[in-house]
């Protein structure tokens, strides 16, 4: 519904030239939600010209393969734009999904936000 579509799904903090993104939801599952999060993230790149994105997953407890697809598209978009995407704060259980699908080889994943900030 429209109220659901408008609610905030990410928060963005600028630390120097790095946009640090936190997820509001603990579960990243349904298509509409993932689409909205994706739109917000792509807007950072395409409209706001951000070239260093640090996605902090420390608030996220569960996500499905649909969210992985969106991260892959964001990674590809960042590469096209000459930017860099880094993921951090991923819970061990979710990290096993990245490893299982070998996306840990394609996406840059670091332990925590502090490490991420010094990894660009």
């Amino acid at each position: 519904m429209s109220t659901s579509a408008r609610r905030q799904r990410i928060t963005v903090e600028d630390i120097g030239d790095i946009a640090v993104v936190q997820f509001v939801d603990k579960k990243i599952l349904d298509e509409q939600n993932i689409q909205m999060i994706g739109d917000d993230l792509f807007r950072l790149v395409d409209e706001l010209g951000r070239r260093k994105l640090l996605l902090n997953f420390s608030n996220v407890e569960f996500m499905s393969s649909a969210a992985l697809g969106k991260l892959i598209r964001l990674h590809q978009r960042m590469q096209q734009a000459g930017g860099k995407l880094i993921l951090c704060g991923i819970a061990d259980s979710i990290l096993t999904v990245f490893k299982l699908t070998k996306l840990d080889k394609m996406l840059k994943i670091v332990k925590d936000e502090q490490t991420g900030l010094t990894s660009f």
């Binding site: 599952l29 349904d30 569960f62 499905s64 393969s65 992985l68 969106k70 892959i72 699908t101």
Partner: protein, 140 residues
């Protein structure tokens, strides 16, 4: 210990929010039977992926079509059968999403994830029925 054996049978229209409600009950049943955090995560993930496949790819989000779910939770094992009203598919034809040529594809990981987190997975008939088991004794 009290017997916490849980047996559920239900049908619901092709709506992803219905799938979320099933998972909340399922997680509660697993936890009350003493399943550890990583097993609960694995089962929940497999069920999420299988229900999403049934609703999106099987029933094509058609609200006139239903998904049928039967599951059992005991202290030793979890069994679930999920069927949709779609045309089915051949699981052997799903490309390996971890292959170099597929790794950057944004879709096609659900079946692979299910196979890797559950103890056994079988697609029955034309492929519109999936039967999955997770043994509690599997390494966490």
């Amino acid at each position: 210990m009290s017997d916490r054996h849980v047996n559920v049978e239900m049908s619901f229209p092709s709506d992803l929010s219905e799938a979320r409600r099933i998972q909340a009950d399922l997680v509660e049943a697993l936890q009350s039977n003493g399943y550890g955090e990583s097993h609960v995560f694995a089962i929940r993930l497999a069920v999420e992926e299988a229900l999403a496949n049934a609703i999106k790819h099987g029933n094509q989000m058609d609200p006139g079509k239903h998904v049928h779910v039967t599951y059992t939770v005991t202290a030793d094992r979890f069994d679930i059968r999920i069927s949709d009203e779609g045309p089915g598919f051949n699981p052997t034809e799903v490309p390996d999403p971890t292959a170099d040529e597929n790794i950057e594809r944004p879709c096609g990981r659900g079946v692979y994830i299910i196979r890797n987190v559950m103890t056994t997975v079988d697609y029955i008939g034309k492929g519109n029925v999936v039967v999955m088991t997770k043994l509690r004794g599997d390494p966490e």
